[in-house]
Subunit: 198 residues, 2 copies
């Protein structure tokens, strides 16, 4: 299929998005090509505007159009309660759930020998600065229940232990709405360990 | 999450692409936001270029950057052998397989009372014109093995019967590499009906 460089390039670049394989990239490209003015140009412009507007919050590492981000700048949020997450996707998930009234620290990853991510690669210093300046009362470690997440929580716990603050971690157990018989052994063990009086 | 209109808009528009739900749209948006200059701007530019370059071939209905499209304009392809497909995605699939040396006619849909698609909505006239001008030897009906596909093939067969050309349709049966025990009854029946001497 020579002579259609623009179309091939569109399919190739769409196929590099996470969650889109070659097949769905072609479907998406076709949907856009069928409505170039109604669908493709608005998306192209939204991308260009977002690319030019996006900032990394220098306080917490969130992605937003302002620095500090809307969460850090919000005076109604509890700046003394910092929730540490691996990435911005986790922050978005917690915000959608509306379960955290404090602020965040986005690490940008977890310790992983396999991926070559060491302590220096994690965005921790702004959190240490915030704690050193006082005003942080509690740090919630909200990392995934994986080997990397556990390693990172352990390491962070050690680094934060010298400060006079409360350190907590998210609970582990049976997901709400989840049946027990489909859960893995690790989750079941964690759920039993985290049992509470009924 | 106020104050991030550009990011919300990007997620919303990405989520309207086929194959991307809200969850994968957020993942894709995050991947782009993390690399605004390396990933998002190139994709935005590719979309804008494709949107401005795309043409519908007035001969066959294919989407390309030229009209007539590269296939219709290719002198090495057999213009006397026209393969009728429902949409451009089907044309792309046949081209990837490299199984058709002729040209195409893209209907842009199939007859469907449910979707309100009638004969006037199908891109058939260019095919009739090509046949009337002579030079078309055979028409291959390559429509899906669905009720709508079968209805459309039947209707097209009636419209083409008055011309002195060969009309064929794609074979039906067991997909290559497919096991019999996972196939539906209709496919199994078609495979038995389409049996050939071994």
């Amino acid at each position: 299929m020579s002579g259609r460089g623009e179309i091939d390039r569109l399919v190739t670049l769409l196929g590099r998005l996470p969650g889109l394989g070659p097949r769905s990239a072609r479907r998406a490209a076709l949907a856009l090509l069928r409505q170039p003015h109604a669908r493709m140009l608005p998306l192209a412009q939204a991308m260009e505007q977002a690319a030019r507007a996006v900032r990394t919050c220098s306080t917490c590492g969130n992605l937003d159009t302002t620095d500090p981000c809307a969460i850090c700048a919000d005076p109604t949020r509890d700046a003394g309660l910092v929730c540490v997450v691996e990435n911005v996707g986790d922050l978005w998930a917690l915000e959608r759930a509306g379960v955290h009234r404090g602020v965040y620290q986005v690490l940008g990853g977890t310790l992983s020998a396999l991926s070559g991510i060491g302590p220096d690669d994690l965005n921790v210093q702004p959190l240490l600065d915030r704690i050193a300046q006082g005003g942080v009362r509690e740090v919630i470690l909200a990392l995934g229940a994986t080997v990397e997440g556990a390693t990172t929580m352990h390491w962070l716990h050690e680094r934060l232990a010298r400060f006079d603050i409360k350190i907590s971690r998210v609970g582990q157990g049976v997901p709400v709405g989840g049946a027990l018989d489909v859960l893995d052994d690790g989750t079941l063990a964690a759920a039993i360990m985290a049992r509470r009086p009924a």
